[in-house]
Assembly symmetry: C2
Homo-oligomer: 419 residues x 2
């Protein structure tokens, strides 16, 4: 280890650090000729350096003890790097195809060395804004979610293993609290951090703060988020936490990871795809009306849930006589009963997914952190129209999620609002 | 501390231990003349000694590393004494009127020294079998449950405090697993430990093992038990965990304590009152038909829930601007909204209570550990009739709990089955 206490690295000290760290320096053959370093952190919380040398490459991510976008006035534990590293390793062990390999972790420095996701990998959100189709996206994301969520739940694990794992991630409470605040609380009250496309959405934001049913439903979801240790979730699975090429899908940045409700991950991903869908009208023009792209997004949403459903229940069938303790084989080893149980479980998971997805959509329009899908729409009135449609669907899903029995009904609701 | 490593105490080494322990010896004025020691543990897990001297008294409870009733073949961590001591202190701090004071705890020896609940305190279950009315029971138990459950939940605490507390009690996993097995699993499968009043209930036990809906519902409750850290629950709140006189109600033995669903505690207590009710016909005779006593039990069940509801929501109202993070005042500080939220919360809590209560009833009739309420009915055919009625209600409550909107409907269902 290069340093005995935490200090933020710059490009010079970074090289010194790499030289002193065999697990990193070996990745570039200990050869510093032609080494290139680029700082690329565009997030709110961290420094990210890309290190590329003729003989290899990696990424260094260092957590800072505050929110980078706001500055030192919003402190944020750098211990989150520890939880990110543990989650990357655990999820990576379960689904190596879609999680970048961790080469090195330094808890003192809050620093992770991991695989560099080389070009043409880009942030999925940017691809969605550019109108690029990713034919394998639903397949890959459903695979990632099915494996990571199933295998860290009581469907696969004993309660002893489960409680031990829950304990470890309870330490990530500061990041959980940030989610509680920005997703489940701030959008429903007056908060200095909230903003929206004003004045167009002034009344819409106010309506949310006055909607009793919405507040009742979001409280139920918040309780579930705080109390229910269902699986090791990524905790921030929006479309900027996914890097893609047409062939590759890689999930990054699980610093919000903890044992929480599965629907929070699935909802984050699907909710952000829905935001991407409603933003498309703002990106239309120059000979591309985005109509066929919108169809692709709809299909991707539908496929993501349906493939997740299929893969998750297939894992369940495969491991139904395993060490998972939720449904003991001596009680539930009957095809008809197994089917009934799975239908009930997946129906509730769909409802959780829609509820959490809706909460994530709403907060991106009237809360503190917005999404580039909408922010990149320059004309405020057009942006507001797009956002208002997303908001309408979000409110419907949050309040009436239990009436949806399949993802195709969500697609229909999206089309209805769009038309 | 008297001993440097664990050893089970006998009456001789107990005196040696007390002499070496000021927090205990001071309770009897360091005076060993006229000291009386009595071993009274009638439970399955521990040794319990009563120490009475002219100048004072206390109780010593020592956990053994196995289930006492079965022997060393069923190992059980003696660390449970630690969780019992912590729960006694925390619940005692919140509700000192109904929790005995802890004088001393020795983790190495798995030993708790605490207040001796002097005569005429008896185990509530024995009082219920004897047909004794406790006019303050519902008042006291509702007070205990409202205070301990409310104040250890996110209605009262910050999420930071909550996660820290959850972590500590995750260590009590072995006792949680015992509950998972004997309450949520064994009664629904063939198990060597199961027994029932045979041959009378052979078909009834078989029916339970074949009932898909029952198995689906009990799985939902098991998941909630394993995953939902709602409050610090006692974990074993049946009528043998309560000692009573006409004026005093004291809750003991929280060795199963952990952060779980509130309904598990309320259900345990109410479910065991329901068992006591259905056992009464087996105790009738000798000029006492127990009719008025059964009316008192019904009233006690109804009052327990209704008073709990009243006290719990009163605590909520009182602390609605406090540090509890489930419902932030900035979002929910509106009388009408507050009322809607409480109604929803209490409705769900009633359904949890009925579900868990039903699971506890069923397991006491066809599982490993039975209750003296029924076991003390000598005629097997009469006992089986009583048990079958309790089983019928248990199955109804487990499967149709969501249809009950008030406790009075439960009372009606009890009367209907009884008639």
């Amino acid at each position: 280890m290069a340093f005995s206490e935490f200090r933020p690295l710059d490009e010079n000290s970074l090289i010194e650090y790499i030289k002193a760290t065999p697990s990193l320096s070996s990745k570039i053959g200990h050869n510093y000729d032609g080494l290139k370093i680029k700082e690329v952190g565009d997030g709110n919380l961290n420094f990210v350096y890309i290190i590329v040398a003729p003989s290899g490459s990696f990424v260094i991510k260092q957590a800072l003890p505050y929110m980078r976008c706001i500055g030192e006035s919003w402190p944020m534990t750098k211990e989150r790097a520890y939880f990110e590293a543990v989650a990357l390793k655990q999820h990576g062990g379960l689904c190596p195809e879609h999680v970048p390999e961790v080469y090195h972790f330094d808890r003192t420095m809050s620093l992770i060395g991991m695989r560099y996701l080389e070009p043409p990998h880009i942030i999925l959100r940017k691809g969605l804004i550019a109108g690029i189709e990713y034919p394998l996206l639903a397949e890959h994301m459903s695979e990632y979610m099915a494996k990571t969520l199933f295998c860290t739940s009581l469907l696969y694990r004993s309660t002893t293993e489960h409680k031990r794992a829950v304990v470890e991630f309870c330490g990530n409470v500061e990041l959980c609290r940030l989610t509680e605040q920005v997703v489940f609380s701030d959008p429903y009250k007056v908060s200095e951090y909230n903003h929206w496309t004003s004045p167009y959405l002034d009344r819409d934001a106010e309506t949310i703060r006055e909607d009793y049913l919405l507040k009742i439903e979001v409280a139920e979801l918040k309780s579930k988020f705080c109390e229910r240790a269902q699986a090791l979730i990524h905790g921030d699975l929006h479309t900027s936490s996914v890097m893609v090429t047409p062939d590759s899908t890689q999930v990054i940045d699980p610093e919000f990871a903890f044992y929480g409700p599965m629907g929070f991950d699935i909802g984050a991903f699907i909710g952000n795809l829905i935001l991407a869908f409603f933003a498309q009208d703002g990106h239309a023009g120059q000979g591309n009306d985005r109509k066929s792209y919108k169809e692709w997004i709809l299909k991707t949403i539908e496929d993501t849930w349906n493939l997740f459903h299929q893969k998750f229940t297939a894992l369940w069938d495969e491991h139904k006589n395993g060490s998972g303790e939720a449904y003991l084989p001596a009680i539930y080893n009957n095809p008809e009963l197994q089917k009934l149980i799975q239908e009930k479980y997946m129906k509730e998971l769909l409802h959780d997914t829609l509820g959490f997805g809706a909460a994530k959509m709403i907060r991106r329009i009237v809360g503190v952190a917005h999404v580039e899908d909408f922010e990149s729409i320059k004309e405020a009135n057009i942006r507001a129209d797009c956002e208002r449609r997303a908001l309408e669907l979000g409110k419907t899903l949050l309040k009436r999620r239990r009436e949806f029995v399949s993802i195709s009904e969500v697609i229909s609701a999206m089309k209805h609002i769009q038309s």
